[in-house]
Amino acid sequence: MLGFILSRVLQAIPVLLVVGLLSFVLFAYIGDPVSIMLGQDHTEAQRLALVAELGLDQPFLIRFGRFLMATVQGDFGISYRLAKPVGPLLASRLPATLELAVTATVLAFAAGVPMGVYTGIRANGLVARLVMIVSLIGVSLPTFLMGILLILVFAVGLGWLPSFGRGPVSAIGGWWTTGFSSWAGVRALILPAVTLGLFQMTMIMRLVRSEMLEVLRSDYVRFARARGLTDSAINFGHALKNTLVPVITIVGLQFGGIVAFSLVTETVFQWPGMGLLLVQSVASADIPVISAYLPLIALLFVTINLVVDLLYYAVDPRLRFSA
């Protein structure tokens, strides 16, 4: 078990190093921090002094090493656009994005898995076919358009829910902010979370359905039927549990997808999270922020993959013995 985790962590290190290198090249060679910090008017001597001060005249490997050290300590430089340190800037945006992403994931699961099981069991039923057609529209409907339509109906048309922002938030422990502390904050979360979760829900549903169909055709389900087990024991015990193995992988990746699409949702709803910050930074070529995103996102995905592997391990006994 411990060896398994260790080997996965070791495998992740080269990936993180490569992303770190990419981030470093972007930060150190594409951006030109010296001219930005000095402005238009400066002498050659001033420039050289700053170059020496920043360590830009050092060999590549030393600079890369320093960059990695700084990155690990959360020092990502200063945003061109906002003139603030990138590290604290990202940290202040993190709670908004996480609250949105987790709420959306929970919604997507709670609705997607039961619907997938249902449409898998009643594959030829009228309701299941209808759900499948609607879900195909859901897959074809881009997230931002879904957000716009929801705003049109529930904010502009009916006036039930707010259409932008996070509502009132309260601080917890000095660095975390939450919108769950007030009803207004929860109301502000509803539309963005539904927008973000809907696409993932259709994906989860379609995936669970196709895996379910596959498993229901398997020999061991046929044998379970031949042993006279009840339909519910077969569908929710034998079939669903076997469906979970591949579903866990995809759903892990789906959480990555939620994080990715949160930048779209955050833009539509002007949600003050990390995604909105990234979009604005790309639009204004704010290199320090973009280059800080690379290792952060890589770390996120490496972590997700590790969690997925561990879940696999918990569900599938075959891995426990061969590993």
Partner: protein
């Protein structure tokens, strides 16, 4: 032709209403987009013909609507229907180019990986696997950001369309590479390739003249399926404001503009381009669904 009409593929097409419907929708939309300069009632790019007097006309069926602007007009008096037709042109162009780019990269990498095998194969496929764990839209956005940052500001706008094509293309290549690699592995072990190798034909020639023609079929099928993704990715980037510049408005750009008027009641400026986008992508996805089912009898 008769042979094709009698085939299983044609049969499954005839008996699947969604497939027929999606082909009809795609034909209508594509013709409308490709021949937009001939068919569109107005030229939305011609700012001289625009008049603020015509701004915010509602679509047909609402008070004060006019036959000349069946889907209404935007804040500058631009005809929404014409803007959609021209916008779809750009969306389709970028989508097709991005997929062609991705297929080209995918075929090259897939061929090399599948044919060379060993360390090269392992390395390339590991790379594809890693990239596959990142959502395509995120990859495209970051590549867009990196390329744009590297260019001087004055060059960004004219090159933006190429940047988008490359960014989306790079985000989609791993899927194609895997498909091509799979088919290459199958072809590589066939007798004719062995024979060619035995008589001393160089590897590069075997790949180009023998293996390539055989793997191009499956790659094209996957390519068609990727078109929906590419069009959505472009629309999303343009909506986020990091895609195509306002001088080349795609469907995504139109939706972004229209979004500003949602609260003042001019919903049609954003809803109609949105519906067009959904219809286009839905038709491609339905066709793709049918193709996958028809070519994979196990799942029928």
């Amino acid at each position: 032709m008769r042979q094709w009409l009698d085939s299983d593929l044609a049969y499954s097409f005839r008996t699947r209403p969604t497939a027929i419907l999606s082909v009809i929708i795609l034909l209508v939309l594509t013709i409308g987009a490709v021949f937009a300069p001939l068919l569109a009632p107005h030229n939305p790019m011609d700012s001289a013909s625009l008049s603020l007097m015509d701004s915010f006309k509602p679509p047909l069926g609402w008070p004060d609507s006019e036959w000349t602007n069946p889907l209404g007009t935007d804040n500058q008096g631009r005809d929404v229907l014409s803007a959609i037709m021209y916008g779809m042109r750009i969306s389709l162009l970028v989508g097709v180019c991005a997929v062609v780019f991705a297929v080209a990269v995918g075929i090259t990498v897939g061929l090399i990986a599948g044919y060379a095998g060993g360390v090269v194969d392992a390395l390339l496929m590991r790379l594809a696997d890693i990239q596959l764990t990142f959502p395509a839209i995120l990859t495209a956005l970051l590549i867009d950001g990196i390329i744009s940052s590297a260019l001087p500001a004055s060059m960004r706008e004219p090159l933006q369309i190429y940047i988008i094509v490359v960014a989306i293309g790079i985000s989609l290549w791993p899927g194609f590479a895997r498909t091509v690699r799979g088919s290459t592995l199958v072809e590589r072990n066939k007798d004719y390739v062995m024979a060619a190798r035995v008589i001393g034909v160089p590897s590069s020639r075997i790949m180009l003249s023998h293996v390539l023609p055989n793997v191009i079929g499956p790659a094209l099928v996957v390519g068609t399926l990727g078109l929906g993704l590419a069009i959505l990715a472009e629309a999303t980037l343009s909506f986020l404001g990091v895609g195509l510049p306002p001088t080349q408005p795609s469907l995504g750009t139109l939706i972004r503009f229209g979004n500003d008027f949602l609260f003042s009641g001019q919903w049609w400026v954003t809803v109609f381009p949105g519906l067009t986008l959904v219809l286009l992508v839905l038709a491609i996805n339905l066709l793709g669904d049918w193709l996958r089912d028809a070519l994979n009898p196990r799942l029928r």
